[in-house]
Subunit: 424 residues, 2 copies
């Protein structure tokens, strides 16, 4: 296919007509295809069905886990995740089934009670957070809920624009945190380089209680390439800044999103401070599920094998999306994207002002995408270009159809824009 | 045994010596007996072991519960608890494994965001809560954590001193709530009468966003007598005060404390307001555990059968405690208690100023009781009389020994008090 910019008005109009016919045909099919959320597919969930048959309830140190107690999580779970994440087991708390809830709780604690001797954030007139964009909508939703001002930080090839981050944090005491997905980032697939991690650990922050929310949600979730993330705790130890880290991880996309186990890791001070508050909040999380998780995952090696199986299911899906984008737009640069090395998404950028329109056109023909703008705080993508594609949930066949339709909609929207703007 | 008050100084001293010998003998035994927490015993936990073998994950409406979604809980769980509690299933949210966490979260939401259009409590200079005493230490701990002023409300035969409650609520806008265990109350076993429930529903409150935290933790947990609690939602409907109710329940003491399911019930407004906030906090609670709970409990009838089995295990334990207290103190009224109809505790009152001493003496000989004072806000029992005895966890043999030691300690402490005070 020729690049649109090499077509004259008549050719564009002809192409537009041809594309519209295809679109109209899809309309008749009453499709119901979903590329909106990063949900594992059935085949991925089936990889973990053996966990359903584990019925143990006695811990390795002979504690009856059916009963009350053990606020910070069972030892064997701490050991397992310590091994997987290369974090000291004493710096880990095992929680319930949702890291999002753990992140929300951590922010709520800082808001209501403050970190150690610092003023609770609810007592301050202004709180600001740095938000790498495009990013994860549910992170931004939490920050918005608390009324924090969100400052966009552009994602770069090696992580985020650290010059900007350093400059802002050094000079503004109201900036209390940044929320990062450092590996196979949602949605861009960005992996933070060692330098980025080092600079986050080293940087000066005017706020004494500055926090890095390190949501390592995709720590093991490679597709095309395994990337080793530099250990932020190691980096922080050099600069004595461990207290700024709140590290999150979960098994939601390892075993079951609906019944996994979440992890919070932090410095000695952070763990102590967190447990002080947590001891009033709950008697303990679901320890039976913690034990099931450990008995199922067994150890790091076995967990990595499971992740390889996930990768093997996801790779053909990402191939479909990426190959189809390539076929459609290689010689017609009206859509930009990067090939992610892992994670759950392909992030694409249309020409300016087209993302909402493309998503709406897809929706009308039965292809659901995450709402345009969702990857930005308050859902405001000022350029209206970014769209998050989630290939994991649909079948290969559904996905091929959905991405074909997506490409079709991008083309129609782009021609309309060209025709309107350029008076060709 | 003769009443101490009929003994002369010499007789008291002789009795003291005799009791001390028994105490010293116990000291040599290096005992380790625990009557401190309301934990089910192993035999009770074993009643629910079949739940461990349930491995379903498809809901009745054919949803794969392994995956993300369903914020408010699976339908069949709502139906089950609606039947058990006689509440409309649309007014129920199914949560994680801890009602304490649900209560904390509900308070945190009111503190951070406020109820509907009301001012968030964190923005007000003073918040007060009414606390029926003696009461549940973990409730008071949460209120203390939020910095609320706690006002003691005496427990009465039919619930709580409602004259006092009505008078306070009518006149003080800073009073934002009351936290009640309305059936087989912790620790007194008190059951709120229909009149008490009606008056709570009907009473005028100066605070528009006044909340009744209705922690019906022991709804089904009878031992000597099944008591029907008047449905507070029915009462509130008469006076259009449904929005003041936050109703909590859990299966912690039905199946497993470490892996049960919690329930929040409220008015249409309350559920809507709660879900609005909850949708930012989490994607959903552990639905697999919700399904397991439903498949195991099956229906109301079967759940009540299970509770009868719990009751059969607990009754002999309560018999031991109550009979031993009767034997020791029937004719020697130095200790007061009421026979509870259900729940997990026996609440006793020593003579003034002896509770701390008795608990310390018990501890020294290896019998652990809940700290004296714990049943009051900030652990301040100004008369130092109340002690909470939890008979559920120890074996019958251990319990008999522990309660014997307890009675011994009460007697020694009382004689010492009499000798010191009266210069007999």
């Amino acid at each position: 296919m020729k690049s649109f910019k090499n077509l004259c008005k008549e050719e564009l109009l002809k192409e537009r007509e041809n594309l519209q016919k295809q679109y109209d045909n899809y309309l008749k099919e009453n499709l119901d295809l979903d590329m909106s959320r990063g949900k594992p597919c059935k085949e991925q969930l089936d990889l973990s069905n053996d966990i359903l048959n584990i019925n143990d309830y006695i811990s390795r140190d002979n504690i009856d886990l059916r009963n009350y107690g053990i606020l910070d999580g069972i030892k064997e779970a701490k050991k397992l995740f310590a091994d997987i994440l290369d974090i000291d087991e004493n710096n880990i708390i095992i929680g319930g089934n949702s890291t999002l809830n753990m992140i929300y709780d951590a922010i709520a604690r800082l808001y209501m009670f403050g970190y150690m001797d610092n003023t609770p954030w609810c007592k301050l007139s202004k709180i600001k957070f740095l938000c790498p964009v495009p990013g994860y909508d549910r992170h931004f939703d939490i920050l918005e809920k608390f009324g924090f001002e969100m400052i966009n930080i552009p994602i770069t090839e090696n992580g985020i624009n650290m010059d900007m981050v350093e400059n802002l944090c050094k000079n503004d005491e109201a900036i209390k945190g940044i929320i990062c997905v450092p590996l196979y980032s949602n949605p861009t697939g960005t992996c933070y380089s060692k330098e980025t991690v080092e600079r986050l650990a080293k940087m000066e922050t005017k706020a004494k209680d500055f926090k890095i929310f390190w949501d390592n949600a995709y720590a093991l979730h490679y597709i095309y390439e395994k990337i080793e993330l530099y250990n932020i705790f190691d980096a922080c130890k050099k600069y004595n800044t461990q207290d700024r880290i709140l590290y999150f991880f979960s098994t939601s996309k390892i075993n079951f999103p609906g019944g996994g186990v979440s992890i919070l890791a932090g410095s000695d001070n952070t763990i102590k401070d967190t447990l002080k508050h947590l001891s009033k909040q709950t008697i303990g999380y679901d320890k039976i599920n913690q034990l099931k998780t450990v008995k199922f995952l067994k150890n790091k090696e076995n967990t990595l094998k499971l992740m390889e199986a996930h990768s093997n299911i996801l790779k053909p899906k990402f191939d479909i999306v990426l190959n189809t984008l390539e076929e459609n737009f290689k010689n017609n640069p009206i859509l930009k994207w990067e090939k992610p090395k892992g994670g759950y998404f392909v992030s694409v950028d249309t020409l300016e002002g087209l993302a909402k329109k493309v998503v709406a056109m897809c929706k009308e023909v039965g292809v659901v995408l995450t709402d345009a703008g969702s990857t930005y705080p308050k859902k405001i993508d000022i350029n209206d270009t970014n769209i998050r594609i989630a290939p994991s949930f649909p079948s290969l066949e559904e996905l091929q159809k959905a991405i074909n339709i997506f490409c079709l909609c991008v083309k129609i929207a782009t021609i309309d824009k060209m025709l309107a703007e350029n008076n060709l």
